[in-house]
Structure formats: structure tokens, C-alpha cells
């Protein structure tokens, strides 16, 4: 009896030991094909198709000839690749009597975008900084009005601004257009900069004040060097917005300054005559190229900046 009892105890012990040897050991296995991964990657993949489809269609169409477009479906790859539509969109497409394609508008867009982006960001960043760190009486009232401004449809503002610019003698000038872009970029940019600057440690600002730096000293020497991400966000938003702007570009400037989007509109919207879809698509891609490149190049900073500018309210 005692023997068996001992035996049982021994065998129970060895069983436990055996389990210790064969049971879970080391890193928990994580199968690559798990339901969780299938769901995540599956969804991401399907959604990616939705997002990429238009780009695919644009590019495929832009390298097809017109006969092929009329025959085939828009998703099929081109049987014969031609870059003629691109050449035409860039250099030959006519707007009225000017047959320079998009090339003329391209440089105008550059001339409009660069000063507008610089001025609007400069002003909005200083605004945001003043709001975040130098709260003076009434500042929040103005800021609230500014946020309301973000909801005012542009169309409503067109006419009053024409009058204001006329009175200021700036109507039709590039300066006037820069001012308009600065005004309409201000609400969102100021919001972003204000949020970003309030997310920076306040003690830093206090330390700089004790160190004798003034309003501009703190802005240029302390805040600016720490604000690369949010400046990247602002730049991306503004470059995209201003480059893609059609309404202000056409209403507030003279024809010699018309941006690329006006040419795009002219190429795409010529109501009469045969629609050259391939040229339209090439022109569309060409017009979108600058903001697209900006996105692809600085996408990572964009997310970082967004994190800094939007997360803290």
C-alpha cells in the first residue's frame, strides 16, 4: 500500500515535470495567417484598391490613344502606349488662342504659390504663437470669429473682397491674390499653430522670458526651431490648397497670371468639340503632380506634424 502511494506521488510528480518540459515554452507562436491578420490586411488591401483605382484609371487613360479609349473599357491596360496626350497637355493644348498647354500656367502657379504659402504661414504661425503664449484680452474672441470664418462659403466672400481689393488698389495684382490666400488659409492654419504651440512645454516659454527674450526673440529663437513638423503640415496644406485653387486664381488675377488650374479647367471643360479624355487625364495628372510629389516626399513629417498640431486641443 505504501509502495503504491509512493508510486502515485512519484508519478504525479513526474507528470508535472513532463508537462513542464513539453508545455508552452519560449515565445508564444503567432501564425502569420491568423483571422486577425486576414481581417486587417484584407481590409487594408480592399480599401487600397478603392483609393488607387482613380489614379490607375487616370494614368492608364492618359497613355492610350483616343480610338482605344472609345473601344475598350477604362480599366484595361493600354494596348499601345503613347505619350502624345502628355505632350499635348503640357505644351500644345489650346485655351482660346494660346496654345501653350499647361506649361504657361505652371510657372504662374509657382509664382502664386510660393509667396502665398510663405506669407500665409508666416502670419498664421505668428497668430497661433500669440494666441497660445501671449493670451491678451479679447484674443479668444477674434480667434472664435476666425474659426467661424472657416465655415463661410468662399463664394459669399467673393464679392465683398472684390470691393475691398478695389478700394485698396490691389485688385488684379499678385499681391491681392496673396492676401486672399492668406485670409482664407488663416482659420485652419491658426488653429493648427495655436494647438501646436500650446502643446510645447510652457516652462520653456517662461524660461525664455526670464532669459530676457521678447515676443519676437522667443518666436524666432525658441519656437521656430522646434516647429518643423507643424510647419511641414502647414506647408503641405497650403501648397495643396493654393496650387489646386481655381476660383480665387481666376477671379482675382489677370489672364497673364492665371494659374495652372485655369488651364486645366480650360482643357477639361471645353464643352464643344470632341472630348479628348486622354489629354484631359494627362493634364489632370500633370496639374496634381506638384502637390502629389510634396505628399509623397514629406508624408511622414505630415503625420508627425498632424500629431503635434491636432492632438492637443
Amino acid at each position: 500500500m505504501t509502495d503504491t502511494a509512493l508510486d502515485i506521488r512519484a508519478s504525479a510528480g513526474s507528470q508535472a515535470r513532463a508537462e513542464a518540459l513539453t508545455g508552452p515554452n519560449g515565445p508564444k507562436p503567432r501564425p502569420i495567417i491568423s483571422p486577425r491578420n486576414i481581417m486587417i490586411y484584407g481590409t487594408l488591401f480592399v480599401v487600397s484598391v478603392y483609393y488607387l483605382l482613380p489614379l490607375y484609371v487616370m494614368i492608364m487613360t492618359s497613355v492610350k490613344g483616343m480610338p482605344e479609349i472609345r473601344m475598350g473599357n477604362i480599366f484595361s491596360p493600354p494596348l499601345e502606349i503613347t505619350f502624345q496626350p502628355w505632350v499635348k497637355a503640357w505644351a500644345e493644348a489650346c485655351t482660346g488662342l494660346n496654345c501653350e498647354g499647361l506649361s504657361r500656367g505652371f510657372w504662374n502657379s509657382v509664382r502664386i504659390t510660393i509667396p502665398s504659402v510663405i506669407v500665409s504661414i508666416a502670419i498664421a504661425s505668428v497668430n497661433g504663437y500669440a494666441l497660445a503664449n501671449w493670451r491678451f484680452k479679447g484674443a479668444n474672441i477674434f480667434f472664435t470669429i476666425l474659426i467661424f470664418g472657416a465655415f463661410v462659403p468662399y463664394q459669399v466672400m467673393l464679392y465683398p473682397i472684390v470691393i475691398l481689393l478695389r478700394e485698396a488698389g490691389l485688385y488684379g495684382s499678385l499681391t491681392g491674390l496673396v492676401i486672399v490666400h492668406t485670409i482664407f488659409g488663416m482659420p485652419i492654419l491658426t488653429l493648427l499653430f495655436r494647438n501646436y504651440f500650446s502643446s510645447l512645454p510652457e516652462e520653456l516659454f517662461k524660461a525664455a522670458r526670464v532669459d530676457g527674450a521678447g515676443f519676437w526673440g522667443i518666436y524666432f529663437k525658441i519656437m521656430l526651431p522646434m516647429s518643423l513638423p507643424i510647419f511641414v503640415v502647414a506647408m503641405i496644406l497650403q501648397i495643396t490648397g493654393i496650387w489646386n485653387d481655381f476660383l480665387f486664381g481666376v477671379v482675382y488675377t489677370r489672364p497673364e497670371n492665371y494659374p495652372m488650374t485655369v488651364q486645366l479647367n480650360n482643357i477639361v471643360n471645353s464643352v464643344q468639340g470632341v472630348k479628348e479624355y486622354n489629354v484631359n487625364m494627362a493634364a489632370t495628372v500633370l496639374t496634381g503632380l506638384v502637390p502629389l510629389i510634396v505628399y509623397f516626399v514629406s508624408g511622414k513629417l505630415f503625420v508627425r506634424g498632424i500629431a503635434a498640431g491636432a492632438v492637443k486641443g
Binding site: 516652462e203 520653456l204 517662461k206 524660461a207 522670458r209 526670464v210 532669459d211 530676457g212
Partner: protein, 364 residues
């Protein structure tokens, strides 16, 4: 402490409101030349706010602030002759250590040689010379705080303001730096105003401590006085660890009746005029003033107790018992090997205790 004649920083009737919230209520403090003043209190008591007001980082709602006999109430921080050290160090991340140290001096448009000289001196004092070229990112917490102190140092000012400078450091670094700050004060002999919620820092560093609660200074005195003669229940309970034992009872004819036990307070040093006070009172006894009696009642008051909980601290032991229905702690030598459930006789001297009015909380 020797030179009481010269006032370095004077806070005169300062109040501060945020909307309808009164954060500071008519504060008055005179800080002497070369004095180390600690502002101590629980969070939200207004101590950091007061420091920011002195620095000029916040505008006061009413009252005045004088630094070196000059009314600086409306002066910019840079013009007040102060240096400041922050809890989060607030080092400019994009500048090197040297850049951080010299930024304020450059703003003041000091000559280059002078800047170099001062930076070198500060670096020498704080032993951060090897770090001068580094960016703050590449420094440890302790090094960062040293640089932050250096930044105040180079300004060559009379008044240093510290806003919880050690709170972000771990325990060991904190005690190391605490000593260094003390040494620094001995060497420089500047006026220092130091905000903390840590009573050990306050006790070890301060010439005088101002204990604040809800925007009011409760007591402003030397660490010794604050520890031994707290002016009210709040101060008594805030200072000391473990906290003072509070025994509530009726005070009549020189004795407090605590849950049936009468404690004679005949030798207690009443505040002038309170000698014949009677009514509900609180008797405060510091755990370290309680003595374990070994058969002989050497203390004016003694009682039998049963130990309920024992907390060995290494050097000594904190033990919990009950007196007159109140929880009662005392500090004992760890050599006594106290055990839970053990019967023991304890005693203390009511003359070293504190008596408070149970209603107003004021010292009697």
C-alpha cells in the same frame, strides 16, 4: 539668518484671481538678503503661482512685489534681476548646453568675453564643462537640471527662483542634487526662493519655510519652529512623517480628557493668554516623541498599549496602536523587535506636544 536688516524680496498684499477663483489671497512675505526660503504646500495651494508672480510670468491682480527695494510689479521678468529653474528643466532643445547658458546673456547684449567668462564659471561650479557642446537630448535628467541651474547662475542675479526643480528626478539623484543646491547656496549666498511639495527638501534646505494652503500662508518660520510649534492643525499634520497623532478631547483644568484617559498638560507652553483655555481641543503628539517605557515611568504621561501593526523601516520601526479610541503611531528603535499583539507601555511629554482648538484648528 544673521543679517535681518536687508530685505531682498518683498511680497506686499499680493492677490491673484483667475476669473472668480482666488488663487492668492493678500499675501505678505519679506525674504531677507541671502536667505533660503521654501514655499511648501500641497498641490494647488498657489505656491508655484506665487513664484510665477515674483518672476513676473504672471500679472498680479492687486498688491506689489519689490526686489532689492525696487518695485518690479510691472517689470518684465528679465528686468527683475532673477534667475529661474523649472521642474521640467525647460532647456531649449535645439541649442547646445553652451547655447542654453548664454542665451539670456546674448539677449542682454553682453560682450562676448563676459559671456564666455560667466559660462565658464557656471560650468565650473556645476561641473558640467564636458557637456557644453552637447544638446539637451543627450543629457541625463540630473545633468539637465544642472544645466538649468547653470542658466540661472550665469545671469549673475541676486535672486534665484526654483520651481520644484527636483521633482522629475529619481530618489537618489534628488538627494544628491539637494545637497548640491545647499552647497551652492552656501557658496553664492544669494537669495533663493524654492517651491516644493516635498517636506524633506523643505526641512533640509530652508532657512525659513512658508507653508501655504488655498492661497494663504499658514505659517512662515524656521524649519525648527514649524516642526515643533505648528500654528494650526494643517501645518501640524502636513509636516512630519509619519504624521502627528491627533487626539481629540475636552480640555479643562490643565488636562485633556481623551476617550476617558486624562492627559495632564500642566507643563505645556500655552500661547500667551491661552493659559486658562477650555473646550474641545486636539492634542498633537509626534510619533518620534513617544518613548517605549521599560518598567519605569520616566515620562510625565504614560499608558498601556497593544501593538497592532509594525512597519520596520530599517533604522527604526513605526508601530500602530490605539489611545483613547484614536489611532496612535510611534517611532521606536528597531532593536526593540516589537511584534504585533505585544503589550507595551508608552509615554510622552505633553510639554513637547501641541494643543489646538478643535473648532478653529488654531494652536492654543
Amino acid at each position: 539668518m544673521t543679517d535681518h536688516a536687508i530685505t531682498s524680496v518683498k511680497v506686499n498684499d499680493v492677490s491673484l484671481n483667475f476669473g472668480s477663483v482666488e488663487v492668492l489671497k493678500q499675501l505678505n512675505i519679506d525674504v531677507h538678503q541671502g536667505e533660503f526660503l521654501v514655499l511648501l504646500g500641497p498641490s494647488g495651494c498657489g505656491k508655484s503661482t506665487l513664484l510665477n508672480c515674483i518672476a513676473g510670468l504672471l500679472d498680479v491682480s492687486s498688491g506689489q512685489i519689490f526686489i532689492n527695494n525696487k518695485n518690479v510689479t510691472w517689470d518684465e521678468p528679465k528686468d527683475r534681476g532673477i534667475g529661474m529653474v523649472f521642474q521640467s528643466y525647460a532647456l531649449y532643445p535645439q541649442m547646445s548646453v553652451e547655447g542654453n547658458l548664454s542665451f539670456g546673456l546674448k539677449n542682454a547684449r553682453l560682450p562676448k568675453e563676459e559671456i564666455q567668462k560667466r559660462v565658464a564659471r557656471a560650468a565650473e561650479i556645476l561641473q558640467i564643462e564636458p557637456l557644453l557642446a552637447r544638446k539637451p537630448m543627450a543629457l541625463s535628467g540630473g545633468q539637465r537640471q544642472r544645466v538649468a541651474i547653470g542658466r540661472a547662475l550665469v545671469r549673475d542675479v541676486d535672486v534665484f527662483l526654483f520651481d520644484e526643480p527636483l521633482s522629475n528626478l529619481d530618489a537618489k539623484l534628488r538627494s544628491d542634487l539637494r545637497v548640491e543646491i545647499k552647497r551652492l547656496h552656501q557658496r553664492l549666498k544669494n537669495t533663493m526662493i524654492y517651491v516644493t511639495h516635498d517636506q524633506i527638501e523643505a526641512m533640509t534646505l530652508a532657512d525659513r519655510i512658508a507653508i501655504m494652503k488655498e492661497g494663504i500662508i499658514q505659517q512662515l518660520d524656521t524649519p525648527h519652529a514649524i516642526y515643533n510649534k505648528p500654528v494650526n492643525l494643517f501645518v501640524a499634520g502636513f509636516i512630519g512623517s509619519p504624521s502627528m497623532n491627533f487626539l481629540e478631547g475636552e480640555l479643562t483644568n490643565g488636562a485633556v480628557d481623551v476617550g476617558g484617559t486624562s492627559v495632564s498638560v500642566g507643563r505645556y507652553g500655552f500661547e500667551p493668554g491661552n493659559e486658562n483655555w477650555s473646550g474641545r481641543a486636539v492634542l498633537g503628539v509626534r510619533p518620534e516623541h513617544v518613548i517605549v517605557l521599560n518598567g519605569v515611568d520616566t515620562q510625565p504621561f504614560s499608558f498601556d498599549a497593544t501593538i497592532e501593526i509594525v512597519e520596520p523601516m530599517g533604522a527604526d520601526t513605526i508601530a500602530w496602536t490605539t489611545l483613547g479610541g484614536h489611532s496612535f503611531t510611534f517611532r521606536a528603535d528597531s532593536e526593540l523587535n516589537l511584534e504585533e499583539g505585544q503589550k507595551i507601555r508608552l509615554g510622552f511629554d505633553p510639554a513637547r506636544a501641541s494643543l489646538f482648538d478643535a473648532v478653529s484648528g488654531e494652536r492654543i
